[in-house]
């Protein structure tokens, strides 16, 4: 298990009668690209706002880089870069001036970091153009440059692809991967677009109606979504022998209840069933199974997941 960068402990947030977060225990470890998935209004932004000190929890706590005291959290937040909801920019300032504000705020010596951040997001040639005249994609990239100023160790991106065109989405995805790979940056990225997260996240957390339903690694998710034949027979160990000896496959798994998940021969249903029945096994259940990412999440959130 890696070093925990961010953990929320029983985090709860209530607005009068409405519960926005309910006992959320989220864990982000060093090096993760943590995909935080949930419908609009599921509680993603509320959690990120609490982590970044924009809102206070009703109960529970946040631990950031091992710090959970108020003073410790203030210091720890200096190691975090974030874009929450939308990039916040000074519209009458240029990209360089916007970055200068944040350089002074963070007390970063020298102005080299500004050119570096602008180059990283491809905004080095914007000159005297003011932020109010930027396209949505450029604003998003400037927001990212601000978040990256001062080389943070944790980058929090809340719905970062909002308003980006397909090319911009691809660019952002590649940049996130590169930052994670080259700078070993831990990234917490929230989105309601599953396909987008699936292409970059190494770990997932699913939030629905303020409750964190599940956390899993990319591998665990793929495993859960892998297409297979789900077989239940009267003698699982004999069935395993048949699969190995007659069908020549070891790409299966016998679950605790005796159910067999056969990952290979998915498209050769007839051959598998023939082999099992001809060996005298009684087939109780035999069906193809497995989800694509979207249908998996739809199942987890009770059929209500959609973009």
């Amino acid at each position: 298990m890696g070093q925990t960068v961010l953990a929320t402990i029983d985090l709860t947030k209530k607005y009068k009668e409405q519960t926005a977060l309910e006992h959320v225990n989220l864990v982000v470890e060093k090096g993760d690209i943590y995909g935080f998935i949930g419908q609009n209004g599921a509680g993603k932004s509320t959690l990120l706002r609490i982590v970044t000190a924009m809102a206070r929890p009703t109960s529970g706590s946040v631990r950031l880089f091992g710090e959970s005291s108020e003073a410790g959290l203030i210091e720890a937040r200096k190691r975090v870069g974030a874009i929450i909801e939308s990039p916040a920019l000074y519209p009458d300032m240029t990209a360089r001036d916007n970055l200068e504000v944040h350089r002074l705020l963070r007390g970063i010596p020298g102005k080299a970091c500004i050119s570096k951040a602008l180059a990283l997001v491809g905004l080095q040639d914007t000159g005297k153009k003011k932020a109010k005249n930027f396209s949505l994609g450029m604003k998003q990239r400037l927001g990212l440059a601000i978040a990256l100023l001062g080389d943070p160790e944790l980058l929090i991106l809340d719905e970062p692809t909002n308003g980006l065109d397909p090319g911009g989405i691809v660019e952002l995805r590649e940049l996130v991967k590169e930052l994670n790979r080259e700078l070993e940056l831990t990234i917490l990225i929230s989105s309601h677009i599953l396909s987008e997260l699936h292409q970059m996240a190494t770990k997932y957390g699913i939030i629905h109606e303020g409750r964190l339903l599940e956390q899993m690694t990319h591998e665990q998710l793929n495993e859960k979504c892998k297409q297979h034949l789900r077989i239940r027979v009267d003698d699982p160990s004999k069935a395993a022998t048949v699969l190995e000896m007659e069908l020549g496959t070891q790409d299966y798994e016998v679950l605790q209840d005796g159910t067999i998940k056969l990952y290979s021969l998915y498209h050769d249903v007839r051959r598998v069933s023939m082999a099992l029945t001809s060996s005298g096994l009684v087939i109780e259940y035999f069906a193809p199974d497995g989800d694509d990412l979207e249908s998996y999440f739809t199942k987890r959130v009770g059929g209500g997941f959609h973009d």
């Binding site: 706002r49 970044t52 000190a53 924009m54 809102a55 206070r56 203030i74 210091e75 720890a76 937040r77 200096k78 190691r79 975090v80 974030a82 929450i84 909801e85 939308s86 916040a88 920019l89 000074y90 519209p91 009458d92 300032m93 001036d97 200068e100 504000v101 944040h102 002074l104 705020l105 963070r106 007390g107 601000i146």
Partner: protein, 254 residues
């Protein structure tokens, strides 16, 4: 805190409204100063009585509606606008104490306000005298009065800036901040005309920064008056800054 101050000063330098107001204040003062000096505008005021005729245009500073108008516009665009455009969240999430964020903002807002309310008019007056020989000073010994009056005025103005800062933090919108402040300024102007106010209102007004702000320029003040004015100014300043920090600390940033 130093980082926050440097950032706020940089933002002040880039704030177009601040520069616009500075030009307006300077032009209005210069115009008024010229009109009074050439005798086109006859006015009796405390500076005439004190033998400081060349400072007569400063009487404009004692009109609450006038300085509230540009101070609240400045506060609206310098403080509340941070909430409107959302940049307040960047500052809050940067790993600085909210009390420091508030204080840095207040200090720079106060500096900007002093430039607008004090420095610009004095530059016009002194510049007019040095360059064009505008104005007279029949009693230079009255400069002590001027120093006392301006000193008291600045203390009460700081308290007023703290009030504007509190309004801006509560309103989170430059338009609302300006409207609320103008309504307050209107009430003060009306109250000043209607004095003495009925019952407890008169007592409340007498111990308010609004009254003392105007009263700062009174020619004859006893030591007790000065101490009372200082007490009202400093206590109001501390209370308003304290409440401002309290409100800002509890605020959920949108």
């Amino acid at each position: 805190m130093i980082n926050l101050l440097r950032m706020e000063l940089f933002k002040l330098g880039k704030n177009r409204m601040f520069w616009t107001l500075m030009i307006i204040v300077t032009v209005v003062f210069a115009l008024l100063h010229v009109l009074i000096t050439i005798g086109w505008w006859k006015m009796d005021n405390m500076f005439m009585g004190a033998g400081l005729e060349m400072f007569s245009s400063l009487a404009l500073a004692t009109a609450p509606f006038y300085f509230m108008l540009f101070l609240c516009t400045f506060a609206g665009f310098f403080v509340a606008n941070d909430f409107t455009i959302g940049v307040a969240k960047n500052i809050v999430m940067s790993g600085n104490r909210r009390s420091h964020i508030f204080l840095a903002k207040f200090i720079v807002l106060a500096l900007g306000s002093m430039v607008l309310a004090g420095v610009c008019p004095f530059i016009v007056i002194i510049g007019g005298k040095v360059l064009f020989g505008f104005g007279e000073m029949t009693d230079p010994s009255a400069l002590g009065y001027l120093a006392r009056a301006v000193g008291l005025f600045l203390i009460h103005m700081l308290a007023l800036v703290a009030l504007l800062m509190l309004i801006a933090v509560l309103a989170e919108d430059s338009g609302k901040t300006i409207i609320i402040s103008i309504v307050i300024a209107l009430f003060i102007s009306v109250a000043e005309v209607l004095r003495p106010l009925p019952g407890v209102l008169e007592a409340m007004y007498r111990y308010s920064i609004f009254h003392h702000l105007i009263d700062s320029f009174r020619i004859r003040m006893t030591y007790a008056d000065v101490i009372q004015s200082l007490l009202v100014g400093f206590s109001s300043l501390l209370i308003l800054v304290f409440f401002g920090i309290l409100v800002f600390k509890r605020k959920e940033i949108k």
